[in-house]
Amino acid sequence: MSLQGKRILIAKPGLDGHDVGAKIITLALRDHGADVIYTGLRKSPDYIARTAVDEDVDAIGLSVLSGSHQEMLVATLEQLKAMDADDIKVFIGGTIPPDDHAALIAAGVTDIFTSEMNLQDTIARLAEALA
C-alpha cells in the first residue's frame, strides 16, 4: 500500500499535549510515501481548516486525547464547509470510546483510529479511503 502523492495534514486541535500518536502516524505515513505536515499543538479548527486548504491536502488526521473529539470534529468539518473544502476527508485518532463512534460517523468522519490499533492496519485503511 502506497500513499505516494497523497498530501496529509496531521493536526492537534484543543489543548491536550499528548502528541505521541500524532507524531508516530506522521512518521509512519511518510514511510509510506505521503507528504505529511504536522501542525504542532493547540491549533483551532479554523487554523486547521485554513492550513488544509492552503496546503491543498487530501486528508486531515485529527488527533484528540482529551475527550473533546466530537466538538473538535464538528468544528473542523464546519470550517471546511465554510471554505468550500469539504472534499477533504477527515479522520480522527486518539482515545475515542467505542460508544462515541456512531456519533462521529454520523457527523461525517471518514474513519476512526484508536491507539491500540496496529499501525499497518491504520495505514491500509487510510490508503483505501484515499484511493
Binding site: G14, L15, D16, G17, H18, D19, V20, K23, I24, T26, L27, A28, Y38, G40, L41, R42, S44, S66, G67, S68, E71, M72, T95, P97, P98, E116, N118, L119, Q120
Partner: protein, 534 residues
C-alpha cells in the same frame, strides 16, 4: 557453567542493555557500592532507608470543580494518604481562563479549573495547608499557581515557612513531551529561577521544582534516555540559577526529580541507583557543592502510565504492583500508583482505592521496606547499575555535543528522537517482538472493552465554572487588580527582577492566571514549535 548457546538470540533490557544468562562477580566493574546515605549513594540517599521514613503515598487526583476536588481530597486523606496531588485542567495549565475561546471545550475536564485565588480557597477548604504536603502538576503557568498557593496561605494566616509540597515547574520537558509550554525558552527559564530563588528564601520547606523524566518516557524513550535527558535538564536549571547569582548549596538541596516506572523490574530499580551516583558526582565535582544535602538525588515516581492497557484492564493491577515494587527497590521518596482503569477513564473511587492499597500492601505486608537497598550486592543488579550509568552518561554527552539542551529543543532534535523511539516501540508491540499480555498475546479476540463502573463528569460543571469565574471578577476591586497587573508587566521588562512578589500581589487581588499570562505574553511572546523533521 551456564552459557548462552551459540545460536540463541541475545536478550536485552528495554533500554538495549545486554542481559547475560548468569552474571558472575568478575563481570562487575568494581564500582564502589558505599553505604546508604553516603557517596556515591548507590544504596540510597538516607542511611536508614524506609526504616527511617516510609515513602509518601501520593495520588494524582482532581477533576471538575474545586468543590468536587475538595471532596475527593478529603476522601483520600481519610483513606490514609499522606500528601495531596492536584491535577489541573488544561486551560489552567496552558494559561487560559475558562472563558477563553481556546478553553471552551476543556474547562474542568481533565483536572480542576484553578483560574484565581477564590478557586484555590474552595479547593483547600477545611484542609490545613500547614499540615499537608501538596503537589501541583503545573509547568508553563507554575509560577502563577505557586504564587496563588502562597497567597492562599497568607490569607489563611499560615506562615509561608510552614508550606510543604512541590510544584513541577519543569518547562524543558514540556517543549519536547508534555506540551503545556507557554513562553519561549529564555523567559520560561527566568520564571523558574525566580520561583526557586523565591522559595529558597520564603518557603524553605517547599520543593519549587520537580525535574521530570516521566513524560519523555511516556513519549517513547528508554529508561536510559529518560534519566539522561532529565539530568541534562536539571543541570540546565542549575546553570541558570548560578547565572542569576544563586549559591549551589542554597538551592541544590531543594531540587527533586520525578520519573515513570515501567515493567522491567531490575532495569527500573537500577536506573535510580545509577542516577543517584551520577547526580551526586556532578554536583560535587562540577559545581563544588559542599552541603551533603546538595548531593542527594531525591525523586518521586508514577507507576503505570503508558504501560497500562485498555484491554483486560484488571491486568493493570498486577503491572502497577510490579512497578511499585521496582520503585521501592530503587529507593523512591514518593510514589503515585495509577488506577487500573486510568488508561481509558478518570479513576473511580474503587479503582483509586485499589491503587492506594497496592502501596500499602507492599509497605506493610511484603517486608521489602524493612532493610535498606535489599538488592545491593546482587550481581545482576550491580551489573545493570554499572551499565546504565555508562549509557546514561553517553546520552548526556550526546546532548552536550549537539550544543546543549536548549539548542536541541529549539531545533527539534530531542522531539524527533522521541517520535522515532515512539514509532519503534509501537512497531515492536505490533509485531509481537515486545510482549504485552492481553494486547498482542493472550488476548480475547471478541473482547468488548471491560469498562466496569464509569465515572461521568457532571455536564453542568462547565457552566458553573464559568459562572463562578465571572462572579469573582465582578466582585473583585478591579482597579486594584489592574494596578498589580501593570506592575507585573513593568517588572517583566527588566532583565532579572524576581517576578514572584508581583505574581503574589496579583493573586491577592484575584487577578486570574489568564490575565497574568496574557500580560507576560505581551512582552515575551510565545514558544514556536519546531517542525517535525529528521
Amino acid at each position: 557453567m551456564f552459557r548462552q548457546k551459540e545460536d540463541e538470540k541475545s536478550v536485552t533490557t528495554p533500554s538495549g542493555i545486554e542481559v547475560p544468562v548468569v552474571v558472575f562477580p568478575e563481570m562487575l566493574e568494581g564500582s564502589p557500592l558505599g553505604q546508604p546515605g553516603e557517596a556515591p549513594f548507590t544504596r540510597g540517599v538516607f542511611p536508614n532507608g524506609y526504616r527511617g521514613r516510609l515513602w509518601t503515598i501520593r495520588q494524582y487526583s482532581g477533576f471538575g470543580s474545586a468543590e468536587e476536588s475538595n471532596q475527593r481530597y478529603r476522601f483520600l486523606l481519610e483513606q490514609g494518604q499522606t500528601g495531596l496531588s492536584v491535577a489541573l485542567d488544561l486551560p489552567t495549565q496552558c494559561g487560559y481562563d475558562p472563558d477563553d475561546p481556546m478553553a471552551i471545550a476543556e474547562a474542568g475536564k481533565v483536572g480542576v479549573s484553578l483560574s484565581n485565588l477564590a478557586e484555590m480557597e474552595i479547593l483547600f477548604a477545611d484542609i490545613d495547608l500547614a499540615a499537608i504536603s501538596t503537589s501541583f502538576t503545573i509547568n508553563g503557568a507554575a509560577a502563577m499557581i505557586f504564587a496563588m498557593y502562597v497567597a492562599a496561605a497568607d490569607k489563611a494566616g499560615i506562615p509561608r515557612t510552614a508550606l510543604t509540597g512541590t510544584i513541577q515547574n519543569d518547562i524543558l520537558k514540556e517543549y519536547v513531551a508534555r506540551g503545556t509550554w507557554i513562553f519561549p525558552v529564555k523567559p520560561s527559564m527566568r520564571l523558574i529561577a525566580d520561583s526557586i530563588l523565591f522559595a529558597n528564601k520564603e518557603t524553605p520547606r517547599f520543593n519549587p521544582i520537580s525535574i521530570a523524566g516521566a513524560h519523555v518516557r511516556d513519549a517513547g524513550c528508554t529508561a536510559v534516555e529518560e534519566i539522561g535527558y532529565t539530568l541534562v535538564n536539571g543541570l540546565a536549571y542549575v546553570d541558570e540559577l548560578l547565572r542569576r547569582g544563586g549559591e549551589v548549596d542554597s538551592f541544590a538541596k531543594r531540587l527533586s526529580f520525578f520519573f515513570y516506572v515501567h515493567m522491567d523490574l531490575f532495569e527500573e530499580a537500577a536506573k535510580f541507583r545509577a542516577a543517584r551516583r551520577i547526580w551526586a558526582r556532578i554536583m560535587s565535582e562540577r559545581y563544588g557543592a559542599k552541603d551533603p544535602r546538595s548531593l542527594l538525588f531525591r525523586f518521586g515516581v508514577v507507576c503505570g502510565g503508558s504501560s497500562l492497557t485498555a484491554a483486560q484492564p484488571l491486568n493493570n493491577i498486577v503491572r502497577v504492583g510490579i512497578e511499585n515494587l521496582a520503585a521501592v527497590l530503587g529507593g523512591a521518596q514518593s510514589i503515585f500508583t495509577c488506577a487500573y482503569d486510568e488508561a481509558f477513564q478518570i479513576p473511580t473511587e474503587q479503582s483509586a482505592e485499589i491503587a492506594v492499597r497496592t502501596q500499602q500492601i507492599i509497605a506493610h505486608e511484603s517486608g521489602v521496606a524493612n532493610t535498606v537497598d535489599p538488592l545491593g550486592g546482587s550481581y545482576y543488579v550491580e551489573y545493570l547499575t554499572d551499565r546504565m550509568e555508562a549509557e546514561i552518561l553517553a546520552v548526556m554527552q550526546e546532548i552536550d555535543d549537539y550544543g546543549g539542551v536548549v539548542k536541541a529543543i529549539e531545533e527539534g532534535y530531542i522531539q524527533m528522537r522521541l517520535a522515532q523511539r515512539a514509532k519503534e516501540r509501537k512497531e515492536k508491540i505490533d509485531s509481537g517482538e515486545r510482549v504485552v499480555v492481553g494486547v498482542n498475546r493472550y488476548r480475547h479476540e471478541d473482547e468488548k472493552a471491560q469498562l466496569g463502573e464509569v465515572f461521568r463528569l457532571d455536564l453542568g460543571n462547565r457552566r458553573r465554572i464559568l459562572e463562578k469565574y465571572q462572579a469573582t471578577r465582578d466582585r473583585r476591586d478591579n482597579d486594584a487588580a489592574m494596578a498589580t497587573l501593570r506592575r507585573l508587566g513593568v517588572a517583566a521588562q527588566t532583565d532579572d527582577e524576581n517576578l514572584m512578589p508581583y505574581l503574589i500581589d496579583c493573586c491577592h487581588q484575584y487577578v486570574t492566571v489568564g490575565e497574568m499570562v496574557a500580560e507576560l505574553k505581551s512582552h515575551w511572546g510565545e514558544f514556536q514549535e519546531p517542525a517535525l523533521i529528521a
